[in-house]
């Protein structure tokens, strides 16, 4: 009995290790449910928990397959870093060319969002720097203001 319990524990630990390498079920379930809500507006379709495992595993093997193909594409062009274009070519090679247009638009959206965030963070840094520079001149500000007022009056 104790040996069987140990075997069960080993199986459980192995499952835990492999689950860490899999994609999170909660997110996969959300994707499946969102798609089902698009497909069946009237009736509610549910998904068995066991079948979710199939979705997760399918996605994981897809990543393996696609990354190996993208790696080959990258090697053929004598580069070492797999980039987005390699992935697009790989998708065409494995007969998933229909995925390429929506992926390109999604990537463009990400690039635009990233560029906006970078510019916002740069602006924030500049304003914080300006704020720090103004602090030591605050004591002299009174004198400066008087000078400004004089300039305005002269005008």
């Amino acid at each position: 009995m104790s040996e069987k319990e140990k075997e069960k524990e080993n199986v459980v630990t192995e499952k835990v290790v492999s689950e860490a390498d899999e994609l999170p079920k909660t997110i996969v379930r959300r994707v499946v449910k969102d798609k089902l809500s698009q497909l069946s507006m009237d009736s509610e379709v549910s998904v068995l928990r066991d079948s979710l495992q199939g979705f997760c595993e399918s996605a994981r093997i897809f990543i393996h397959f696609l990354s190996a193909t993208a790696n080959d594409v990258c090697k053929e062009s004598n580069r070492q870093i797999i980039n987005a274009e390699d992935v697009f070519k790989a998708l065409e090679e494995i007969e998933f060319a229909e995925f390429v247009p929506p992926l390109r638009t999604s990537l463009e959206e990400f690039r635009q969002k990233n560029a906006k965030r970078k510019s916002e963070s740069l602006k924030a840094k500049e304003t914080s720097k300006k704020g720090k520079k103004k602090e030591p001149s605050s004591t002299d500000g009174v004198g400066n203001k008087e000078e400004d007022e004089d300039e305005i009056e002269e005008e």
């Binding site: 390498d21 899999e22 994609l23 999170p24 997110i27 996969v28 959300r30 994707v31 499946v32 969102d34 798609k35 089902l36 497909l39 009736s43 509610e44 379709v45 549910s46 998904v47 068995l48 066991d50 079948s51 495992q53 199939g54 979705f55 595993e57 399918s58 996605a59 093997i61 897809f62 990543i63 393996h64 397959f65 696609l66 990354s67 190996a68 993208a70 790696n71 090697k75 070492q80 870093i81 797999i82 980039n83 987005a84 992935v87 697009f88 494995i94 007969e95 998933f96 995925f99 929506p102 992926l103 999604s106 990537l107 959206e109 990400f110 690039r111 969002k113 990233n114 965030r117 963070s121």
Partner: protein, 112 residues
């Protein structure tokens, strides 16, 4: 006030919609990519994002086909067999056939 990182807003879907363009964790995708082959060493920052969306599209495609099978059988619950049938009947999902057959065999094999 803590500021959100680059990816957190994208993963949470941003301000507008509940589902963002990228849902799957990019670090885990990178991990799986590196395990696919010993040759895979360097991956650009944009590649996992493309992979994440590609996985989402794949899951949606399998869901659609499995749902068709469920509806044809006049049922309301997608089961594992529906997913397996969807994979087997689609040519582009040939790379998943072994997975489906393995899972079917593991179910059929008698437990000690």
């Amino acid at each position: 006030m803590k500021r959100a990182g680059t990816y957190s807003g994208i993963l949470s879907g941003g301000i507008s919609g509940r589902t963002g363009p990228h849902l799957l964790p990019l670090a885990r995708i990178k991990k799986i990519m590196k395990k696919s082959s010993d040759d895979v060493k360097m991956i650009s920052g944009e590649a996992p994002i493309v992979f994440s969306k590609a996985c989402e599209l794949l899951i949606e495609e399998i869901t659609k086909r499995a749902w068709n099978i469920t509806v044809q059988g006049k049922r309301r619950t997608i089961c594992k067999e529906d997913v397996a049938s969807a994979v087997i009947t689609t040519d582009t999902f040939d790379f998943l056939v072994n997975l489906v057959l393995d899972s079917a065999n593991s179910q059929d094999s008698p437990r000690p």
